[in-house]
């Protein structure tokens, strides 16, 4: 509300107490009576009570106004605990992750006044709010108190009172979220989905000046009911997607040819890449080689000064893990759950692979679903369609059997959802990354969609045959399921039949994407891929799935196709270079094409995955041009 005006007569009572009465205050023509709480409603990274943009419409939230704060899920002091999970401020970096709001000074506050700050009950369990003390320390005064590892050790403060002297000087408060909207927490009953989603993501902060002893409120002309209010919103979790400005590449060190290929690509992209050991007995050893699948990376942030964004990257695990034993003990199930990779486990000497300064971690599924779910809950099945139409921050895309908790969480963020859902059940692995990949392009849209194309594969083989290369052999040395001449491939009735069925399915997905996103044929590039079937509606790429690639900026690590060698060259590699690597593709930040690296991923291919499945990456927050708060979502 508009508050900051000089008042000529501010004394109003509300069954209440009149400022300017003989109890004190600045009535008449003296200094103003000030009952004011203010936040960064203007989104300029500053909290300024004299800025009308911070005062006007401070109790609203839309595309143009509204303050925000973040879920403080990183570990700035590297004590192995997320910063929101303790009751201290973990240093200056942690303090920077807290959004500020202020109670303005009322220098002539009545002698019997005390300040009262309140928050709405629904928000209390989702935030912690500190105040700045005069000595420079901070004190936790509102929201969740206690370690909050369960409902039993968590209490909630909805109201904070401070003395008249501080009403006169004003008080600064800092707020952090304990969770995103729609995210479960240990201190909430996991069975209580209703409660989990009850929180709107907003915190309504109220400030009043009360007459000590009676509780009556002082009021002013600008604050006629005696309560000034400001609304803050927790920032959403946002998925990076393949166009993220990634600085870190992850994979297992399990298959050295993959590591070699990725190393070359990562170096070209200027991306840090340190594969983790696949042997669990080695330091940091982790047996799950499907790095894309067991965690997702995203970010969160709120407005910082000078157009910056203050935030952090966020890692979230898949609900289920892969213990090394086939009959794991409960301890092994916990030890090899993806949470342990992200958080680490000091007791077992496992360092945190992700949690750290500006690197947050959170589980988005209901805790009762720990170690539940299926292949569709792997994150290779969850991708981000880059910005388009009203989805300025992109829109999440996933398969049709994803755990409902996760879908609800994505939708609850309000910015990149509701997701686009594709029926991926025709695939053995059922992941969207088996047939779609998004790459940067210098076009009005800013990106193109790569699609696995059985029809193109057929055409390329037919072209080879027509050029007299029918006897050239694909996948030489990889066993008779894969090793076939061009002629044999085209004459393999089942293989072409399965591939045609896949082609029809993929064309259906393309139709859906066109409808949802406005894509045109010019925004689509086909990648030759045939599919085989492992037993009825269980299709998987027959030739190495090149569309299932890893993008690092304009650099692509792509499965080596192992096509026929003709004149010393692989026509499939040549085709990809031409298709993706040249200016006609318009791909890459400069539109001159992607820098393509072929990576031998055969061992993964043989186990039903490719380069994208075998890797993962993350970027510093924020990613994206523009700001999530301007999306009005």
């Amino acid at each position: 509300m508009v508050r900051y005006r000089w008042l000529t007569s501010s004394v109003i009572t509300l069954g209440v107490v009149a400022c300017g009465s003989d109890s004190g205050g600045g009535g008449g023509s003296g200094p103003p009576d000030i009952i004011d709480v203010v936040a960064d409603t203007s989104r300029d990274g500053l909290v300024n009570a004299e800025d009308p943009k911070d005062q006007d419409r401070e109790n609203e939230w839309d595309a143009t106004v509204g303050a925000s704060f973040i879920a403080n899920l990183d570990d700035d002091d590297m004590d192995g605990k997320r910063d929101c999970d303790d009751e201290i401020i973990n240093g200056p970096a942690d303090l920077a992750d807290l959004a500020m709001f202020k109670v303005s000074a009322w220098p002539t506050a009545p002698a019997d006044a005390e300040g009262v700050v309140t928050i709405d009950p629904e928000a209390a369990e989702s935030v912690r709010i500190w105040r700045d003390n005069p000595d420079g320390s901070l004190a936790l005064v509102l929201g969740s108190k206690g370690p909050c590892t369960s409902a039993a050790d968590c209490s909630y403060a909805l109201e904070y009172r401070f003395p008249q002297a501080e009403v006169m000087t004003g008080v600064t408060f800092r707020i952090e979220g304990r969770r995103f909207k729609g995210m479960p927490m240990p201190s909430l009953n996991p069975q209580d989905d209703g409660k989990k989603f009850l929180w709107s993501g907003f915190v309504d902060v109220g400030f009043m000046v009360a007459k000590k002893g009676t509780g009556e409120r002082y009021a002013t002309a600008d604050v006629p009911d005696g309560i000034d209010r400001v609304k803050l919103r927790v920032a959403p979790w946002l998925m990076f997607g393949s166009l993220g400005l990634h600085d870190t590449l992850y994979s297992s060190g399990f298959y050295s040819p993959l590591v070699e290929g990725n190393t070359a690509a990562a170096q070209a992209a200027g991306v840090t890449y340190n594969p983790y050991a696949s042997n669990p007995t080695q330091p940091g050893g982790w047996t799950d080689i499907w790095t894309e699948d067991f965690f997702q990376t995203g970010w969160t942030g709120f407005p910082g000064p000078n157009g910056t964004v203050q935030g952090m990257r966020i890692f979230n695990p898949r609900p289920w893990g892969r213990p090394p034993s086939q009959t794991p003990t409960p301890e092994q199930v916990k030890e090899y759950h993806p949470t342990r990779w992200i958080w680490g486990n000091p007791e077992m000497g496992r360092p945190a692979a992700a949690l750290g300064p500006d690197r947050g971690a959170a589980e988005f599924y209901n805790p009762e679903n720990f170690q539940k779910g299926n292949t569709q809950d792997s994150h290779g099945n969850h991708d981000l369609v880059p910005p388009h139409k009203d989805y300025k921050m992109g829109r999440i895309l996933h398969g049709n059997k994803v755990m409902q908790n996760t879908v609800d969480f994505y939708t609850a963020q309000g910015v990149q959802g509701p997701p686009i859902v594709l029926d991926t059940t025709w695939l053995a692995v059922e992941h969207v990354d088996e047939f779609f990949h998004f790459v940067p392009a210098k076009t009005p849209l800013g990106w193109k969609l790569l699609v696995a194309s059985p029809a193109l594969m057929t055409k390329m083989l037919e072209d080879l045959k027509s050029k007299g290369q029918g006897s050239a052999v694909l996948h030489q040395g990889y066993g008779s399921n894969f090793e076939k001449s061009v002629d044999q491939s085209l004459a393999d009735t089942k293989l072409v039949q399965w591939s045609q069925a896949a082609d029809v399915k993929i064309q259906g997905h393309i139709d859906q994407m066109k409808m949802e996103t406005g894509l045109t044929d010019a925004d689509i590039i086909e990648i030759p891929t045939w599919f085989e079937d492992l037993g009825g509606e269980e299709k998987v790429a027959w030739n190495p799935g090149m569309v299932n690639m890893r993008m690092m900026g304009s650099v692509a690590s792509i499965a080596k196709p192992f096509g026929p060698v003709i004149g010393g060259k692989d026509p499939f590699e040549e085709d990809i270079f031409a298709r993706l690597g040249g200016p006609s593709s318009q791909l890459g930040a400069d539109g001159q094409g992607l820098k393509v690296f072929f990576t031998d991923d055969w061992s993964y291919h043989d186990s039903l995955g490719e380069v994208h499945c075998a890797t993962n990456e993350s970027a510093p927050a924020p990613f994206a041009a523009g700001f999530w708060w301007e999306t009005a979502k």
Partner: protein, 310 residues
């Protein structure tokens, strides 16, 4: 054979599969005597001549948890491995399926079934008539889990002989407990008789699951790419089969529930018969047709026809 296996099935219905099976899926006694004797001889000879292939079949890993646990989708499947062994693995696989199962150890039902399914998938692709009796007996065996029966049906369809045609059409009848599997099996059989039988089912059934299965089967057996793979000599038959398929699919693609429509539409796009658009347009005047579905499908077919992979 069918009468015998049915009788066996009834008599043994309450017996656990492991108790009756010497092979993974059936006991040798489930086979007709002459076929059984012939196979026993062939297998014995092959065991001597090609011990490595028998060992390779015995040593497949995809159904074993320590192996499939590393797959991207960690479910048991040995299909790729077994297909990769090629035609030489036919007799070792028939041996394992019907005569002498490998040691099951602690494999779960799903893991054990994955081995059978993988072998049946591979046997079907090899397309050798020597597999006929085993595949047929497994298809009709009692106390079989659905995935294995379905794989047997597909294998029978791929074998594609007169015996398989009779077997599958005999079961692809309303009320038969093996009806759905038999329809899927016929979908693998690229024969005009199979197409006509399934088309008749699709045209007459009121059962949504049967209709969906029949539509999918027609798409598979009418696949234009598959017919093309058979070379110029097969094209005339292919065109006739595809016409039967497309004619049956067009009405279902624009009427009925969503599942049937999707299955029929996808199948029509696989069949790619030259008359497809006319067949769809002809549905407009028929009662119960969803005009929007007609428009949408026409647009989809036109896109397909204009499409040139680039």
């Amino acid at each position: 054979m069918k009468a015998l296996t049915r009788l066996l099935g009834l008599g043994l219905f309450l017996v656990a599969p492991s108790a009756l099976a010497d092979g993974i899926s059936i006991a040798p006694s489930a086979l007709p005597n002459d076929a059984r004797a012939k196979l026993e001889n062939d297998i014995a000879a092959a065991r001597v001549a090609q011990p490595k292939v028998f060992a390779a079949v015995k040593n497949v890993k995809g159904h074993r948890p320590e192996h499939y646990g590393k797959y991207r989708n960690p479910y048991p499947t040995a299909t790729r491995e077994l297909r990769g062994l090629g035609p030489a693995a036919l007799l070792p696989m028939l041996d394992a399926l019907a005569f002498q199962a490998p040691d099951r150890g602690k494999l779960t039902d799903a893991e054990w079934d994955a081995l059978a399914i993988g072998m049946l998938e591979a046997v079907g692709v090899i397309k050798d008539a020597r597999a006929s009796s085993v595949v047929g007996a497994i298809f009709e065996a009692s106390a079989l889990r659905p995935g294995v029966r379905l794989a047997a049906a597909r294998a029978a369809g791929r074998l594609g002989g007169d015996a398989e045609l009779a077997l599958l059409t005999g079961h692809a009848k309303s009320g038969d407990p093996l009806e759905l599997a038999a329809i899927h099996g016929l979908g693998e059989m690229m024969r005009l008789e199979a197409a006509k039988h399934v088309a008749q089912i699709l045209g007459s059934t009121k059962d949504a699951k049967v209709a969906e299965a029949a539509a999918t089967a027609l798409g598979t057996l009418g696949s234009s790419w598959a017919w093309k793979s058979l070379g110029p000599k097969a094209q005339a038959t292919g065109l006739e089969v595809r016409k039967v398929c497309a004619s049956a699919l067009a009405p279902r693609a624009v009427r009925g529930n969503a599942g049937q429509r999707v299955a029929a539409s996808d199948a029509l796009l696989m069949v790619e018969h030259p008359d497809t658009l006319d067949l769809i347009r002809a549905q407009r005047s028929i009662k119960g047709t969803d005009a929007r579905a007609v428009d949408g499908l026409i647009a989809r077919v036109e896109r397909q026809q204009k499409r040139a992979p680039k």
